[in-house]
Amino acid sequence: MPDFEPVLLKNRYVDRSWDIDVYESRGGYAATRKGLTTMSPEDVSKEVADANLRGRGGAGFPAARKWSFIPKDVSIPRYVVMNADESEPGTYKDRQLLEWDPHQCIEAMILSSYAVQAKLSYIFIRGEMSLAAERLEHAVHQAYAKGYLGKNILGTGYDFDLHIHRGAGAYICGEETSLLEALEGHRGNPRLRPPYFPAAKGLYYYPTVVNNCETLCCVPHIVERGAQWFAGIGTEKSKGPKLYCISGHVMKPDIYEAPFGITLRQLIYDYAGGLRPGRTLKAVIPGGASAAILGPESLDMPMDFEGVAAAGSMLGSAAVIIMDDTTCMVGAALNLLHFFRHESCGKCTPCREGTDWLFKVLRRLEAGKGTEDDISLLLRLTDNMDGKCFCLLGESALVPVRTSIQRFREDYERHVVEGKCPYELHLAH
């Protein structure tokens, strides 16, 4: 594995890393101390802006820009919410950060809240992640006991409360406005935009910063080591260390921390141990279930926001799912549509009906009961959804169907001609 000293993952697999004593002994809370005692809130924001920290949740939006939308008038309540509702298929990086380094997450919350002068913030953690939630709750207790949270933190006069809020099982709550709805105790339906950012109207319709867990976890390191250090890592437009989640048909699936811009080939072969012996690469989903499926021709694309976009897909959450030649692409599309159909909130017509319909047609096709017409029907349905959904979930759901047909149409046709799935590996139950 190439040499890159882990930044975000430096405490992973360290014994009792979730304990505040262990964390402090490894340099923890130095960033908080530095930020709160030597820097103004504006300084923190500026450092993050200079580091060009871009969102790791999927869109790659500059974090400091989001923060800059928060009004300067501090009499208006404002909140920071960490989006740790990690649910995108193939994505499991935030869980590592939450389970192994909860205090890093707390530091991230203290510093980002300090930057926008929030007095109260929440970590919205995916409900299923019990262990992570327990460790976080414990860490928050410890941080209160040590004076990193609560009144007059480190004698600076800054009061800040932090709470953990557990989701209850809904992928849609990764969408920031749905997440806020869930945090307010409602059904997790996305909100009407505009306003486009929760920074204008967020939690309780007050200005709110919603950032991904990994994004915020970069903040303490930027504060501690400086924007220049951070900006020195990565590519021209995508800066800093990045957690790549690789899963599927590779020898060593895991989270790998690497500078932005390593190539897909490096990720598969240098980090993840390559494919299983005798297998060839068939398809890659580079950025979670919503990203367009690519083929082996994209092996040399740089894994940053621009590189993956140029190849016709998106980096998203950097969840790389590798499929070798044993994979049925109809089954893969069916598997993902099972997911999207299950997770559609049901609010808008094209997503609610489209995911259901696509799933049912795919299920028939996969079982060998489809016709050539069904393939064009699928494409027609994706057209009828495209651009017409209320939020991005529906827009994402059509991508695996459309791109799998575009790239692997022969897989579909073989199902029609042979009247059964030609592959052994089951991808749907």
Binding site: A170, R187, L192, R341, H342, E343, S344, C345, G346, K347, C348, T349, P350, R352, E353, G354, T355, D356, W357, K360, V361, R364, L377, R380, D383, N384, M385, G387, K388, C389, F390
Partner: protein, 817 residues
């Protein structure tokens, strides 16, 4: 009083090549509709906030990369929009295709058929054939209560029904359950959907998912005729459409009038019209022969009345005849009724009030336009249980609340509105005027930047509460007083104190919420002993209702003519009514339904229901609205004005009217405020009376010699109207007792506990006047030391416990054996 209209800025938008200026903040879909461009939609509703769920209204906007939902996009100046291109049509076809995919297409047995948006939009914008080859999904339905039928397979998940509950009624009784393709409309624990406004969801539903239970499978929309009527129940005067087939009234739907009910109704208005077709309808005149009432022809009955009136007038003078009625009859009816009393008989004994004592001179200027209420920043409800008394006023208030208005509830007891109020204040029963005087002083001091009041417990309200209230009222407010105020013995003082409060704060306004559909009209028509039509003062006022009943009971009044007034269940002194009706030698009852009173009458004259005749009614705003005839009369009844005119003629006075329009014209001449109320000049949305607060001399107090009740009775009994009461007009509608049974007494927890009474127990309630047995509700609605019973409840009459001789009525409660 005229409505105040704010100024608007406009922006320009070009749609399909046509440019139009629309108010800033308008939605694209509204601009399209203004240009008559057909944009199909399901989830958008002109009277709900933008939602964007169905995606049916997509249009193309220049410089926007994706299709745009026209229902959620505000018009920006210079926007260029394409709403009818082939591309846009294809988008719409795709959406209809999605909606039809799982729709059962059971149109032949669906009640919505013929008025279904999905049917109509599919026909016009949908694909020619379906591409859906899979099994359709199916939901299992359940019984959703007495008013609404749920058929979830038909649902297109537009959420209008849920949003009605959030944005208008506020009771949030139905919600989406599940998610994705399994999303369905549900109620808690699959129980009934109980709401005072449930029927509205059947009208906002664009498909047949939620339909009306009472109207279930009764008729197809195209078989029915529509008539524009005004609701016969409360004082809001909701605009309704009466659907009829073969001269049968089958259904009531809300009719749009953005100044009054917007397009909504309460369930009483929508479902409570079964009395029109009731078995209890009087279909022919009757007169007494011996101790039996026998059918009579109209000439026989009218001659009998005229003859007896002449006899009594000769023997005892015109003052021995009294006229009571009516808050429900139309302006035309009441106008002719008072002519009959004043010109025909020559008596000043006329009143429409049920034991309440509010002088007519305090009425002008108390009508407040509903749109002004809805625009107010702070709305103060004083003794106004709007959800029970004037439900659609509540809809307007709750909607205003979502747009930022504050609601302050001031009352002697709790109500459903408390849950929505920013502040709820209780005063001690009977302490209205002292409380208002203290609050007025506090508001005046707050307005002058002075110190808070120092004395607070005049009505059981603390100084802190008064100060808080005064601060909340600083920015101006709308003050609304409910119909219970008029029923208080000291109503005149309370209303003067309310005016005082409004005068103390700059920008404050005051309005009275009346009880019945034409209470205001009855005042205007001069059905009061001290004022004639148009507020002409009567030099020698006659007797009011309570005085007439007392005189009858004392044997001084020899004849009583009661028009459309339910004395037995509504007058707050059942014993007095009983004695008066038994004693009075000649009783004429003119009504539409048989009742205890009509059985005691000497002559019964059948009138017509609101649906069978035309007329004008004046609502609580002072808005005069016309109602047309929806069905031909069920039996041999006649309109009330016509009966009065015939009697006038029989008594030797030329009525000068041949039809209802003649009466309307006579009113316009007699009442200056009604000059625009004649048929060809009355606008569709009704005409607001232009009246100002008068400087008419206040008559001497009309209150009764009232005393505090016996201290041996520990609880103060409060009574008041409720929506689903047991009155004559609602007993035919079975759904109401299921929605919310009205027979109960509300007790405070400590009082119930000390009497060993639990929620649901039967209790006997006794006063010095009577005893009734009712189930108890212990739900924290009333203050300790007080209890509440609805007026006109099902199964018992709370007026058997009360008397007009009491300022407050005391009772005791015991657990029933």
């Amino acid at each position: 009083m005229t409505e105040t209209t704010p100024k608007v800025e406009t922006v320009n938008v070009t749609i399909d090549g046509q440019t139009i200026a629309v108010p800033k903040g308008s939605l694209l879909i509204e601009a399209c509709r203004a240009l008559d461009i057909d944009v199909p939609f399901f989830c958008w509703h002109p009277h709900m906030s933008p939602f964007g769920a169905c995606r049916q209204c997509l249009v193309k906007v220049e410089k926007m990369p994706k299709p745009v939902a026209s229902c959620t996009t505000q018009v920006a100046d210079g926007m260029v929009v394409y709403a009818s291109t082939d591309e846009v049509k294809q988008w719409r076809e795709g959406i209809v295709g999605f909606l039809l995919a799982n729709h059962p297409l059971e149109c032949p047995t669906c009640d919505k058929g013929g008025e279904c948006d999905l049917q109509n939009i599919s026909f016009k914008h949908g694909p020619r054939h379906s591409l859906f080859r899979e099994n359709k999904r199916h939901f299992i339905d359940y019984d959703m209560g007495p008013t609404v039928v749920r058929d979830m397979d038909r649902c297109i998940q537009c959420q209008r029904c849920i949003r009605f509950g959030l944005e208008w009624s506020g009771d949030h009784g139905i919600e989406f359950f599940g998610r994705g393709a399994a999303t369905n409309i549900g109620t808690f624990a699959r129980g009934p959907f109980l709401s005072k406004f449930s029927g509205n969801v059947t009208e906002v539903c664009p498909v047949g998912a939620l339909t009306s239970e009472p109207f279930r499978l009764k008729a197809r929309p195209w078989e029915m005729r529509s008539a524009s009527v005004v609701c016969p129940h409360c004082a809001v005067g909701c605009n309704l459409t009466a659907n009829t087939r073969q001269n049968e009234l089958l259904r009531i739907t809300g009719r749009e009038n953005v100044q009054v009910n917007v397009c909504w109704t309460c369930d009483k208005g929508k479902f409570g019209v079964d009395f029109v077709n009731s078995d209890r309808r009087l279909k022919t005149p009757f007169y007494r022969r011996g101790d039996r009432l026998v059918p009579a022809s109209w000439p026989e009955a009218l001659t009998e009345v005229a003859r007896r009136f002449q006899e009594i007038r000769e023997a005892d003078g015109p003052g021995a005849i009294g006229f009571i009625g009516s808050q429900k009859a139309s302006n035309e009816d009441v106008f002719m009724f008072q002519r009959l009393a004043r010109e025909g008989v020559g008596t000043a004994n006329i009143d429409h009030r049920m034991g309440d004592t509010l002088p007519a001179s305090l009425i002008p200027g108390t009508g407040l336009p509903l749109n002004d209420i809805a625009r107010a920043k702070t709305i103060v409800l004083f003794a106004a249980d709007v959800r029970e008394e004037t439900p659609v006023v509540w809809l307007r208030i709750h909607n205003a609340q979502l747009k930022g208005a504050k609601v302050i509830v001031i009352d002697e007891r709790g109500s459903e509105a408390d849950a929505f109020a920013q502040q709820s204040v209780r005063y001690r029963p009977g302490g209205e005027t002292s409380f208002l005087r203290l609050l007025t002083a506090a508001v005046a001091q707050a307005a002058a930047g002075g110190s808070p009041p120092s004395e607070g417990d005049g009505a059981g309200v603390s100084v802190e509460t008064l100060t808080q209230l005064a601060n909340a009222l600083k920015g101006g407010f709308v003050l609304l007083a409910g119909p219970r105020v008029a029923a208080k013995p000291d109503s005149a003082e309370i209303v003067r104190a309310l005016w005082g409060l409004a005068d103390a704060a700059p920008g404050a306004r005051f309005g009275l919420l009346h009880l019945n559909n034409n209470t205001r009209g009855a005042y205007d028509m001069g059905a009061v002993p001290d004022h004639g039509p148009g507020w002409q003062q009567i030099t020698h006022p006659g007797l009011n209702t309570a005085q007439m009943l007392q005189a009858a009971a004392d044997g001084k009044l020899k004849a009583l003519y009661v028009l459309g007034s339910d004395l037995v269940s509504s007058f707050p002194d059942a014993a007095l009514v009983k004695k008066a009706l038994e004693t009075v030698p000649f009783l004429v009852v003119q009504d539409i339904l048989t009742s205890e009173m009509s059985r005691q009458a000497d002559v019964v004259l059948p009138g017509l229901s609101f649906a069978e005749r035309e007329g004008t009614y004046t609502n609580l705003e002072g808005r005069i609205q016309a109602s047309v005839k929806a069905v031909e009369p069920l039996g041999g009844g006649r309109p009330d004005w016509e009966i009065c005119a015939a009697l006038l003629a029989a008594l030797g006075v030329a009525p000068g009217v041949l039809n209802v329009e003649d009466v309307t014209r006579q009113i316009a001449e007699a009442v200056p405020e009604y000059e625009n109320a004649v048929p060809d000049r009355l606008p569709a949305e009704g005409a607001l009376e232009v009246d100002e607060r008068t400087t008419l001399a206040a008559p001497p107090p009309m209150g009764h010699a009232a005393a505090e009740g016996s201290a041996a009775l520990p609880l103060i009994l409060l009574t008041g109207p409720v929506l689903f009461d047991g009155g004559p007009l609602t007993t035919d509608t079975a759904a109401f007792s299921e929605l919310e049974p009205s027979g109960y007494i509300d007790l405070a927890e400590p009082d119930a506990a000390s009497a060993g009474i639990a929620d649901g127990d039967m209790v006997t309630v006794s006063s010095e006047f009577g005893v009734v047995t009712v189930p108890a509700k212990v739900r924290g609605r009333v203050e300790p030391g007080t209890a509440f019973m609805p007026l006109k409840a099902t199964g018992f009459r709370s007026n058997t416990l009360t008397s007009v001789t009491r300022t407050v009525q005391r009772v005791r409660i015991d657990k029933a054996q």
